[in-house]
């Protein structure tokens, strides 16, 4: 097991390298260097000495790989992600809370998806081709077909139109800038249900289908008959054998659902005005605040990579067949 984890972590290194290069490319993409855009944006003339200092710090006159090296080594050694020019702050001051909220929302949504999808998937498989199964299947397909942001818009409209409520945001106005306290956490939780449902719909629909298909596969396996022939009751049988085996692919599904959640939360957060990484990235891209944008892409990618790693390890832990391969 330890050897397996070690191997997975070693695999991580090239992935991280490639991700950091992609993020760096994003930083480099806009025409001209960012100092030019900084100077053009500044209202008053920028102090030439300051410009030169920045030029030196990011190695802008040097070849591109040196620039990359300066950037990445700054991140690794000092946690220095560069500077946001729009906010006039260090990037690292801006991102951590938002990254934390992204993680919280994604994990809560993941939990929501599992809690809803597993029982419904089991029901749908056991009651195959009944009315209930068809209803679940159709709702599932519709859930898959509605883009997150559209669902968000519709729900916001319904809340606004029929309940006179504005449901966006993660905090009530008085808590937005407040320090963390129990009240703020509770306020956060009371706002979280909407984004969790919106983000979770597509994933839930997908996992119901995965669970149903897996369980149907497993239900027809011989070991189920063998256990039944041993005298086990139907319910115990169902949960001890086929459901248990059918859950394995669900754990590995985390590997693709988690990136999808982080990814989907970008757009949903923009629509719902949540203080996660999504809207920040959006704004930074619009204002070409490239160090902020690149850092966000890097961190969000690292986040999903870690999610994938965790799900792999989890799967190896619950499925004895994996480590052997």
């Amino acid at each position: 097991m330890l050897w397996y984890i070690a191997r997975r972590i070693i695999y991580l290194i090239p992935t991280l390298l490639i991700v950091s290069i992609i993020a760096f490319v994003v930083i480099q993409l806009p025409p001209g260097d960012f100092l030019a855009s900084l100077i053009s944006r500044a209202e008053e003339t920028v102090d030439q000495a300051q410009v030169d200092a920045l030029r030196e710090r990011y190695g802008l006159d040097e070849p591109i790989y040196v620039q990359y090296w300066k950037w990445i080594s700054g991140i690794i050694s000092k946690g220095d992600f560069g500077r946001s020019f729009e906010w006039d702050k260090d990037v690292s001051d801006l991102i951590w809370e938002r990254l934390g909220l992204t993680v919280v929302i994604s994990l809560l949504t993941l939990a929501f998806i599992w809690i809803v999808a597993i029982p419904i998937g089991i029901y749908s498989a056991v009651k195959k081709y009944t009315i209930g199964d068809y209803v679940v299947t159709v709702i599932g397909f519709i859930g898959l077909a509605i883009p997150n942001f559209l669902l968000a818009l519709v729900l916001m409209y319904i809340a606004f139109r029929y309940f006179g409520q504005s449901v966006g945001g993660l905090f009530s106005p008085e808590y937005i800038v407040a320090d963390w306290s129990l009240d703020r956490v509770l306020d956060l939780l009371s706002h979280l249900w909407l984004p969790v449902i919106i983000l979770g719909t597509a994933g839930t629909a997908a996992l119901i289908r995965v669970m149903r298909a897996n369980l149907l596969d497993e239900l027809s396996k011989l070991y189920v008959d063998a256990a039944r022939a041993r005298g086990l009751s139907e319910l115990k049988l169902l949960f001890k054998y086929p459901v248990r085996v059918a859950l394995n692919p669900l754990v590995s599904a985390v590997a693709w659902i988690f990136p999808a959640l982080v990814s989907g939360s970008a757009i949903t957060s923009i629509v719902l005005n949540l203080q996660t990484t999504g809207p920040l990235l959006y704004r930074s891209l619009q204002s070409q605040d490239m160090y902020l944008a690149g850092s966000l892409i890097l961190l969000v990618s690292v986040l999903t990579i870690i999610g994938t790693l965790v799900s792999d390890i989890l799967l190896a832990w619950i499925d004895p067949r994996i480590q052997l391969q």
């Binding site: 027809s220 396996k221 011989l222 070991y223 008959d225 063998a226 256990a227 039944r228 022939a229 041993r230 005298g231 086990l232 009751s233 139907e234 001890k240 054998y241 248990r244 085996v245 394995n248 619950i318 499925d319 004895p320 067949r321 052997l324």
Partner: protein, 357 residues
Amino acid sequence: MQPTHTRLDDPAKTDNQTLLDVKDLKTHFFTDEGVVKAVDGVNLSLKRGETLCVVGESGCGKSVTARSILRIVPSPGQIVSGEINFRQRDGEAIDLARMNPKGREIRKIRGGEISMIFQEPMSSLSPVHTIGSQIMEAILLHLPVSRQEARKRAVSMLDLVGIPRPSEQLEAYSFELSGGMRQRAMIAIALACEPQLLIADEPTTALDVTTQANILDLIRDLQQDSGMSVLFITHDLGVVAEIADEVVVMYLGRDVESGDVDSIFHDAKHPYTRALLQSIPRYDSRENRRLYSIKGTVPHPFARPDGCPFHPRCDDFIAERCDSIDPPRHKLSQSHSVRCLLYSAADEAPSKKGALS
């Protein structure tokens, strides 16, 4: 449906020596495309301590018959009619066909009184549970023992079926064992509660020849020690010759001939049985001719021929009789019966010359 607990005292119906008596069992599958009559009138009877082999081509309903006895026919299959009389350990005879397949009573029978092993040992063991947990599950379900005792018993069962280092193998997963070892483990699970009847559904088909022989020996040894009966399902006549006391030959969901192993191998009556016997290659055959093969193929399940189901492939087909009259069971002797118009209706129509030679 309530099971009926009647003492069958009528010796003509079931004497005390008869453990299992299946009468005119019909198990049909109601699919969207139509009804598949997988088992359509099977009779068989098995005495205590004996081995009954059910032989036939694939698709003739052997496995469905076996599953019907344990009431684990997969949906959309259903027992439509017939009796499955089984004498419990306490001497009481019950009709398994009338039990609720999900009820408590049949569950007591499964694994406790009747056990089953399947064709593919790989897929009949759970991929994510240890061998030990599956044996102990069976023991704890049927015997009033503690987990400690169940564990001990599991180890001794693994030892009994010849698995080396049994207490270690208790923690093994099925994918860590070889095919033969897996089937031994299956047998250990099946026999853990000392059932009266072991149903073996082609248990050696997926194994290589040497392993096959080992498993057959094992089953025979265990049977001699415990006195259980074995219902052995196979398409391999070689296996039948080796282990059977009684034989039932099935074709298209029906028993076409049944009898003791001698009468079947040396005095086969039904054209299908004889055709099967002729199609076994013999190394001592002096004639240098092509191996016999039955003409035609097994009909489509929806296209059951009328009359005798075998008539379109039969060499001794009597026009306008075999294709319209459903042949009844005809008793040739105390232990030998056949369903064929060549014999049962000899008084009405002269049997074809050569048919009996």
